[in-house]
Symmetry: C2
DNA sequence: TATCGTTATATAAATAAAAATATAACGATA
DNA sequence: TATCGTTATATTTTTATTTATATAACGATA
């Protein structure tokens, strides 16, 4: 009979209409869009295809009443994307949840008798 | 400025040597092995291939000092598999963690201003 | 008004994951 | 000792996912 130490790990996400809309990866994408002003640049930074990034943004936008990312094509720089006030609220709220969750995980590390 | 209600959802798992070894799905697999005495039956019940189930069991076993599932081939019924005392401890410990986590999720449902 | 790099979208190609199939090993028991 | 259903393992086939490629639309600005 000995001890098996383990680390507890996990993921959380926000659901709307019973579907995942916002987790760790999407929040990082929003932050990079906000920082760079570009969906393409954010995608490059995260080593994902533009299509994937666009699909994620589109999915997020279509699951909230207010737009989260507003994008424009054409013009100076070819186009741009910005995260709205609503989006910034989502980001900071998710960070809050994530911090609580991190504490939960830390508290629940331990070991089992095996 | 309106409200976006959301449900918080997520998954937790136990890690050993920085690798995932036990989460919701694997615990269910162990329970079904215990109940049926057969890896094959457990796999069928969970609609996964025998290979996938065996790989999971093998992965679990090789990440703990003590065996979690002991299997035999041949003999009455063609063979069988049993979950060890150590495995049962893992199962009940994970359930404990999962219950705490469920409470955490419930507490942290809410809404964001968007 | 021609150019630029980005957004938006569709389609094809490549890769990865999962499922299906096949086969040997096994040992109680009939 | 022949049979049985399961474990254990490898290989093939199928499916799903991801990535790559292509192209049109766009509007500030030079």
């Amino acid at each position: 009979m000995e001890d098996a130490p383990y680390n507890l790990n996990g993921r959380i996400w926000m659901e709307v209409n019973s579907g995942k809309v916002l987790g760790h990866g999407r929040v990082e994408l929003l932050e990079r869009i906000q920082a760079s002003g570009s969906i393409r640049q954010a995608a490059l930074q995260m080593k994902m295809s533009y299509k994937q990034a666009w699909d994620l943004v589109n999915h997020i936008n279509s699951n909230f009443e207010s737009p989260i990312v507003i994008s424009h094509r054409g013009g100076k720089g070819g186009g741009n994307a910005v995260v709205t006030e609503a989006g910034l609220n989502l980001i900071s709220h998710f960070h809050l949840l994530q911090e609580k969750f991190n504490a939960f995980l830390k508290e629940n590390n331990g070991s089992v008798q095996i």
